[in-house]
């Protein structure tokens, strides 16, 4: 017959097994999980790690260990772009493309961390990272505790347009510079200045076209589509500066196209400025051919 007597040991065992152990597991799980971004079903969790030296890195943060370092995977960071035509002070770069080609997984010294924040899922950084993954044809695993978000067509189109406008801004800036130079009193003739300026503008257009071609290749257009795209977009961008437009934080691959075009624009502009501002060297008179003395025959 079953005893109805209260057995404290048995009750304590039940409480331990059915209440205390699950509660401890609940605390441990909750400590490592954000209810707003649950594993498997929630949005991607990206963290911003701000360092004492002012640098910021974005990526998947693993701070579960008790060691003195945090591990940041799939890391991105800002690089200076104040002189660039993106209308933003910074450009986004992916960690791993540097000269020393570091492998994935930055180990950051905890003592050098200033703050840790959660990156907004719809922020400019998250969108640019999503587009970069789309451009790199990244295929995140179907089941992952923190599944990478890939940008959709809408965000990709916005980034493509942002890149086009940055390329156009670079062209317009250098063309303006040439126009301003032509307004000055130059040490060369008007026609010479015009020839140099037209040649430089032609070179700037070539840079713009090659940047658009690189953009077409990067977003995955075929050769025929890319050719048509370059011709139509180049015509559309002619005469537009987009100077006051708010800049778009571009995916690293798109930003590198803009940066390359900026460098080439500057080279063309500098070469033209040099030609426009340096006086032509006057041709030195050619020495007249003097008849060589012929030896006189001795008598």
């Amino acid at each position: 017959m079953r005893s109805l007597r209260f057995d404290p040991v048995r009750v304590a065992g039940s409480v331990f097994r059915w209440a205390l152990v699950p509660a401890i597991i609940g605390v441990l799980v909750s400590a490592n999980v954000d209810a707003r971004a649950l594993p498997l079903i929630g949005v991607e969790r990206q963290s911003a790690v701000l360092l004492l030296d002012g640098q910021a890195y974005f990526g998947h943060l693993d701070e579960s260990g008790e060691s003195g370092t945090l591990v940041l995977r799939d890391a991105y960071y800002f690089q200076d772009a104040k002189a660039g035509p993106t209308n933003l002070g910074v450009g986004l770069a992916k960690r791993g493309t540097e000269a020393h080609e570091p492998a994935d997984g930055m180990r950051i010294n905890r003592d050098k961390v200033l703050a840790i924040e959660r990156v907004g899922p719809n922020s400019a950084v998250a969108r640019a990272v999503g587009v970069q993954r789309e451009l790199a044809n990244a295929s995140p695993p179907t089941i992952s505790l923190n599944r990478q978000a890939i940008a959709g067509l809408e965000v990709l189109t916005a980034q493509r347009v942002g890149t086009e406008h940055a390329i156009a801004r670079g062209y317009a800036g250098n063309a303006d510079q040439l126009a301003k130079l032509n307004d000055l009193v130059l040490p060369i003739s008007k026609s010479e200045a015009e020839t140099i300026t037209l040649k430089a503008l032609d070179d700037l257009r070539s840079v713009r076209r090659s940047a658009l071609a690189a953009l077409a290749r990067t977003v995955g257009m075929g050769a025929a589509d890319a050719d048509l795209y370059v011709r139509t977009t180049d015509t559309q961008l002619e005469g537009k500066s987009f100077a006051t437009e708010q800049g778009v934080l571009l995916a690293p691959d798109l930003y590198s196209i803009v940066a390359r075009a900026t460098t080439l624009y500057a080279q063309v502009g500098d070469a033209a400025s040099k030609l426009l501002t340096q006086p032509r060297s006057t041709p030195t008179p050619a020495p007249s051919a003097t008849p060589a003395p012929t030896p006189t025959k001795r008598p």
Binding site: A19, P22, I24, D53, E117, V119, S123
Partner: protein
């Protein structure tokens, strides 16, 4: 003829135990999310100024936490912008954190080793009043 196997249903006691375990797990999960390992601080001000090792100062609701990190919520900071005149004093304004390129969420974790000191703001402080009004 082989003997018929009877399907054994889980006992009521087991079901009751599983329900209790699920309840305990969920309760602990929710409480921990709400608690966030913060240490209660009685009688403190509504807002604090957190001075960091790199010279930066954040304003907001500071919470000491168990572990290596403290937490600041509703974070604001001072932003200085130089006008067209380089000789003029820079324009200083209080900016709510969140409008940056990475659109950070409301909660900022700061390693305790990066904090120089924390001060409560008086209720009459213009920064506290601004934050209070901005929150409305």
């Amino acid at each position: 003829m082989p003997p018929r196997r009877r399907l054994r249903l889980p006992s009521l006691r087991l079901l009751r135990g599983l329900a209790l375990a699920a309840g305990a797990f969920l309760l602990a999960f929710v409480i921990t999310q709400w608690w966030d390992f913060t240490v209660p601080a009685l009688g403190r001000g509504g807002y604090q100024a957190v001075f960091l090792a790199n010279g930066q100062t954040y304003f907001g609701r500071y919470y000491d936490r168990i572990g290596a990190y403290a937490k600041i919520e509703d974070v604001y900071y001072l932003q200085q912008t130089q006008g067209a005149d380089p000789n003029a004093a820079p324009d200083t304004r209080l900016v709510r954190r969140g409008s940056e390129l990475h659109a950070p969420e409301n909660r900022m974790l700061v390693p305790k080793s990066a904090i120089l000191f924390v001060e409560d703001l008086k209720d009459s402080s213009p920064i506290a009043r601004f934050m209070h009004e901005d929150k409305k």
